[in-house]
């Protein structure tokens, strides 16, 4: 079980969502979601596949538009921003995709250089190289700098994906199923990396997962998404101390050591 991060500042909300609704055709995925993320906090959103967890963080990052509701990120309402304002906000948000989404025609170095060249134009090549070495060292993959994404394992791809988001020093990290498809040991490495990122870069994070081991290892707070709404929230133990059969079933079908 993770010890609570002492740096969490409950007086400072970095994300506040109220009454968020989203439907695809006739299927209502999110039915009025309220959520708050505090400065320095790791918040885990648990739920079964297809319950709208990924939709939630895609709306936060401005990749999808909500049907209803208010989404405030770092003091700005995401769906009211102009494209330029949204881009400026996105520089403060790191998004780690489920399948890493590395640019497969580029080497690891080029993947990491890509955002730097576009958004930190003041940096010379030597400074860019230093930044790239630093994030690669942070994710423990300095030796992979010249490899192509196709030459990396699933766990390594996840790490490079996280490194690419860290290179712009985001204030908020959004992780979409960070341990999906990984073996238990690699999953544990990724969990440790998420905690390390929180400590070292002082980020606030939302972690989308259905992996209870991951939720327990990284979550300062856990919320459970059921039927398009958050049904439970609190620490990991508080969430699962319930008689709700749906929550108990979710717990019982996951492996907990």
């Amino acid at each position: 079980m993770k010890t609570l991060n002492p740096k969490i500042d409950k007086s400072s909300k970095v994300i506040a969502i109220e009454g968020l609704k989203k439907a695809f055709d006739d299927f209502e995925v999110l039915k009025g979601v309220d959520l708050e993320l505090y400065q320095g906090e790791n918040l885990v959103v648990l739920g079964r596949s297809g319950t709208g967890k990924s939709v939630l963080i895609k709306i936060i990052a401005g990749l999808l538009r909500p049907d209803e509701g208010m989404i405030n990120v770092l003091g700005q309402e995401v769906d009211r921003l102009t494209p330029k304002e949204l881009d400026r906000l996105r520089l403060k948000i790191g998004f780690s995709f489920q399948n890493s989404a590395l640019y497969d025609s580029m080497t690891v170095y080029e993947n990491l250089e890509f955002p730097l060249v576009r958004h930190m134009k003041e940096l010379g090549k030597a400074d860019r190289d230093r930044s790239i070495e630093e994030v690669l060292e942070a994710v423990g993959l300095s030796q992979s700098i010249n490899q192509m994404p196709s030459e990396l394992s699933g766990g390594q791809r996840k790490r490079i994906g996280i490194a690419r988001t860290l290179i712009l020093r985001p204030e908020i990290m959004l992780y979409d199923e960070p341990t999906a498809g990984l073996d238990p040991i690699t999953s544990m490495d990724i969990n440790n990396l998420i905690n390390e990122v929180q400590r070292r870069f002082n980020t606030s994070s939302i972690i989308i997962t259905h992996d209870l081991t991951c939720a327990r290892a990284v979550g300062d707070r856990v919320v459970m998404l059921l039927d398009g709404q958050f049904q439970r929230q609190g620490t990991f133990d508080e969430v699962f101390a319930t008689t709700d059969e749906r929550v108990k079933a979710f717990y019982n079908y996951n492996f907990i050591d």
Partner: protein
């Protein structure tokens, strides 16, 4: 019917977005050069082989008809007109549709389904500018260049055949070639290849950028990019021919 109109509106919006963004910085020069290399230089082996063979085959097939009229001396002029006016732009565009258009469709389709395009967007990089504008510019610039190259290679194929059978010298051959074509032929061929290049890039990007439904969608995007581009190229060829004929007063 609704779906057709929705698709047309979507195509219109995509093309309009290209013209809106092509003049807006940042200009991705490095990516444009990389794409020009992909489209132009890497197509050279296939274009060379195809162009040369077409030159030989067309010359060989035309000879008996001209021989019946006792006019084999007109072979260089006939080859020249056919290749410059129609065959080189069309063959280059069709080969590029297959090689480049499908490649763009598959690449962007794969980037869409593996969320690489979303990854660019969330890192505040305009994926349309980086992926679409660069590729469409590359095909629009390189297809005319490839067409000129195909023209030269096909004429060389024709020369090889003519020199073996009619013992015509290179100087005589090319003197007849240039005598037979007009300025309008060269201009119409160039304009046509610019339009073909734009079509190939735009169709490939549109199909790939808007693909969905996983790996099946990627295959469909690549396939559809080729079929649609080829269809449009033939339609454009027909329309441009009408315009050029009108200019010639035919």
């Amino acid at each position: 019917m609704d779906r057709i109109f929705m698709e047309l509106a979507s195509i219109y919006a995509f093309v309009a977005r290209f013209f809106r963004e092509v003049f807006v910085p940042p200009y991705e020069f490095r990516e444009i050069i990389r794409q020009c290399y992909e489209v132009g230089v890497r197509s050279l082996p296939l274009i060379s082989l195809t162009g040369f063979i077409i030159g030989i085959v067309f010359t060989n097939q035309s000879r008996p008809s001209l021989a019946d009229l006792g006019a084999t001396a007109l072979l260089p002029a006939l080859i020249s007109v056919a290749i410059v006016r129609a065959m080189a732009p069309l063959v280059t565009a069709l080969i590029a549709s297959g090689r480049v258009g499908s490649g763009i469709g598959a690449e962007l389709g794969s980037m869409r389904v593996t969320e690489q395009i979303d990854a660019m967007e969330v890192s505040a990089t305009n994926p349309f500018n980086f992926l679409v504008v660069t590729r469409v510019l590359a095909t629009t610039l390189m297809i005319p260049a490839l067409t000129m190259y195909t023209t030269f290679v096909a004429l060389m194929g024709g020369f090889v055949n003519v020199s073996q059978n009619e013992l015509t010298s290179l100087t005589t051959f090319f003197t007849q070639v240039f005598d037979a074509i007009t300025f309008l032929d060269i201009i119409s061929s160039s304009v046509k290849s610019v339009i073909f290049g734009f079509t190939i890039g735009m169709v490939g990007c549109y199909k790939g950028y808007n693909s969905s439904k996983g790996t099946e969608g990627v295959g469909k995007a690549a396939n559809s990019a080729v079929v649609t581009a080829m269809f449009l190229i033939f339609i454009e060829e027909l329309l441009i021919l009408q315009v050029v004929n009108a200019l010639r007063g035919i």
